[in-house]
Every structure is written in structure tokens, then in C-alpha cells.
Symmetry: C2
Subunit: 244 residues, 2 copies
């Protein structure tokens, strides 16, 4: 019998108070923790636990390594920030399962507070009606598909949450996304830039699309665009439950 397992665990947006008890328990049982360097750095070292931090963009290697260690009987936690199922390691793990030669070990996905939920909570309730979540990085899809989705989401009058909005290597794309949104949603539509949510560097800024500039976002920012009914009340921004 092989007692090894893999748990893909969401550490939430950064605040330790947003980690679930289930994830803490998995980390307490683990023999090995695998993940991107800053996420592994959030796990306290202890005797009997081996930390395997790795660089970004090696998700498939990391997933295969986790499966191989579990197949040898180890108890492996793959750590993600936020929720592992939202633009994070869970899909990469299942891609690795498809290519795994050995007997697939026991796998559990342990949900976490994904960035858009923490950002929405800090801003108020901008995702309080139907919404969509789009990864604005074109690492994994053509940019044309991103623009198509933005236009269809605007037509559907979804509130929208954007992950990975802007990086130094492709600053023009987020500028283009703002142009598309301005044309489709109008200058008065509210947009919230939530940077480094729940960390000491947190900064929440809500402006209109007419006021928004690309420099308001970086790769630590989650961007939330309201729907046509989203409005301010005091310092808060929220989307009413009722529409149409």
C-alpha cells in the first residue's frame, strides 16, 4: 500500500487569517512542499518537512515532481496563492497526471480565497451580481481571444475580474484592454484596482473608465470592472443584486 498523496492547496491572497483550517492541516501533515518561491516562503520550516521552491513558468515540472514524490509514498502539498483552481496550479497538476507513467497517487484540491474575492471584499461588493474572471496574460492564449472575451462580457453586462492584468514585458496590452472596455462600457463605468490585497502594501483605488490609466495596474493587481448598475456608496463600491 502506498500512503503517499498530493494536495494542491490555496494559501489565499496573503493574509494568514484567510488560510483555511483544512489547508493548515494538510501543511501540518506534509513531508514535502512544492511551489513558486514566494508561496513556499509562506510555509514555516519544521523538522521532517522538505521545502522545494521553484521559479515561475515551471508549473509542469513542479506538478510532475509532486506526483513522482507522492508515488514514492511522500505527502506532498503543492502551494498556490489564492485558490489553486483559478489561474493556478490545479490545472497544471491534471495536465501532468495525463502524462504520468506511474500509478496516479491520491489527489485532493483544497480551495482558498482567490484574489478577486479578497479584492471585492476590500472594495465592497462589486461582484454581487453575475460576473466573469479573465486572465489577461497572453502566455496561454492569443490576445485576440482576450479582446473577444472582453467585448462579449461587456455585451452580457457581466462585472469582470482580471488576473495578471499587466506585466513589464507587455505593457501595451492592458492599455488596449482599457480602450476596448471604454468603448464597450462607457466612460462612467467604475473600475477598481486592488493591489497586493491583504498585504501591508495593499492599495485599493476605484475610478471611472474615463479616469483609468494603465499605470494603475501591475502584476500584483487584480482589476474589477463593474456592470452597468455598479455604484458607489460612501467609500464602498457595490453591484446591486437586481438587474434588468
Amino acid at each position: 500500500m502506498n500512503a503517499g498523496w498530493v494536495a494542491v492547496a490555496g494559501l489565499g491572497p496573503g493574509d494568514e487569517g484567510m488560510v483555511t483550517a483544512e489547508v493548515r492541516e494538510a501543511l501540518a501533515q506534509a513531508t514535502d512542499v512544492v511551489g513558486y518561491i514566494p508561496y513556499v516562503a509562506r510555509v514555516a520550516p519544521r523538522a521532517g518537512l522538505t521545502l522545494h521552491p521553484s521559479d515561475n513558468r515551471v508549473e509542469m515540472d513542479r506538478a510532475a515532481h509532486a506526483l513522482a514524490m507522492a508515488a514514492e509514498g511522500k505527502r506532498v502539498v503543492v502551494v498556490s496563492s489564492g485558490d489553486p483552481g483559478v489561474f493556478a496550479m490545479a490545472s497544471a497538476l491534471f495536465e501532468a497526471v495525463e502524462g504520468f507513467a506511474g500509478e496516479v497517487p491520491d489527489i485532493r484540491i483544497l480551495p482558498g480565497i482567490t484574489a478577486m474575492l479578497a479584492a471585492a471584499a476590500r472594495a465592497g461588493a462589486p461582484l454581487g451580481h453575475d460576473f466573469c474572471a479573465i486572465n489577461l496574460s497572453d502566455n496561454m492564449k492569443p490576445w485576440e481571444l482576450v479582446e473577444k472575451r472582453l467585448m462579449l462580457a461587456a455585451e452580457a453586462d457581466f462585472a469582470m475580474a482580471f488576473y495578471n492584468p499587466r506585466s513589464a514585458s507587455r505593457p501595451h496590452q492592458f492599455a488596449r484592454a482599457l480602450e476596448v472596455l471604454l468603448a464597450a462600457c462607457g466612460a462612467a463605468r467604475l473600475i477598481t484596482f486592488a493591489r497586493a490585497v491583504t498585504t501591508p502594501e495593499e492599495r485599493i483605488l476605484t475610478v471611472t473608465l474615463g479616469e483609468a490609466v494603465p499605470e494603475m495596474a501591475d502584476m500584483r493587481t487584480v482589476v474589477i470592472v463593474g456592470n452597468s448598475a455598479t455604484r458607489r456608496v460612501g467609500k464602498w463600491v457595490y453591484t446591486p443584486r437586481r438587474a434588468g
Copy 2:
């Protein structure tokens, strides 16, 4: 000085292991807990804590009551299942703030694991690429808007998560939603019915749209439809990170 506050807190999908430490702490500090009967029932009684369970469909009364108690200096937690910002009490609270005559007390929104994230984790990673979340109830919007959003979401090739898919009072609407999806996405598209996720009654069922029937869902079910690339690996279903 008024030390009262309102925290709108997400209890997650049901399993106590998915409650965050931040939410536990707010409940430990509360003088009053307000919410729908089954959610308040999840909070342990203790000396100094008054529980105010109320029926469904009185969200606005509940929110106004929470604000009024906080304005009197009480520490009030409004409990939601899942995440308070996703088809839950946070938007109702801000609606009540707009109509509140007194000085608005301190408000915090405390995120939780929303049902679709728990459901996705149990099924694998069906929300691993761009996706949308739609409340299928027509309590708060015309049914025509639901159908329009389904068609646009299919055209965008979003994975989709549906809350409140089916109730006894409107069983025909979910049947109609399945028809729209079948026409737009084809018979081979994967659909997951996740009932009572993380509770003892949990049941996860993945079939194709060609095989799906309305009776597979009830009001305790979250439904997840994959995108065009969503596939099975072993007992799991996942959406690859790459598209297009």
C-alpha cells in the same frame, strides 16, 4: 465614540475546515449574529452572543437590522454561506447602507470559500481557465437576461458556474437553460453537478450535455459547464490552462 461594527462573513460551503481564521475571530468577538436560519445554526451559542436567525427573502430587513444594532454599539456578524460577495449578503448590506438614516458604522466584508470553488475542487479543476458565474434564479432579473448571458458566455467559450440552478417553483427554467447550452455548446460538452459540497450529502456527478437532465440539479447544487477544451482524466475533470 461608537465601537460598534458590522462584519459580513463567509462561512464557506459547509465544512468547518473551510472557514477562515479571520471569520472565526470575528464570530468570537461578536455580540450579535444575523442571518438565514441554517447559516446562523452553524454558529455555536455562547454567553454574551445573541443569535438572530431569520427566514429567506428578508435580506434587506436583516441588513438594516445589522446596521441599526451596530449603530447602537454592538459588534454584529452577518453570516452568509460561501462568500458574502457572491450572490449573498454583501450587496444587500450596501443596499441597506444607501437607505440608512443614521451614521454608518464600520463595515468589513470577510471573504469565504464560495460554492463554485469548493465544487470545482471536488471535481478537479473545471474553472482553470477564464470563466463566468451566473445566478440562474430569476428572482432578481428577467429570465431573458439569463438566456442572453448563457449564449454570450458560450460564444466567449467561458467555463460557467451556475448558482441556484433549479427550484421547485420554477423547474422548467433549468430545463430551458440546458436546451440553450446544448444548442450553443454541443452534446459532448462536460457538465458537473455538485450537490451539497463538503457536507455529508455531497454528490459529484459529471456527464455530457447530451446526457444531462434537469433532475440532476436542485437548489443545493452548483452546476459547472466546462469550456470547449475541458476534459476528463481518470475520475477528474479539468480545463487546461492553454486555449486558442
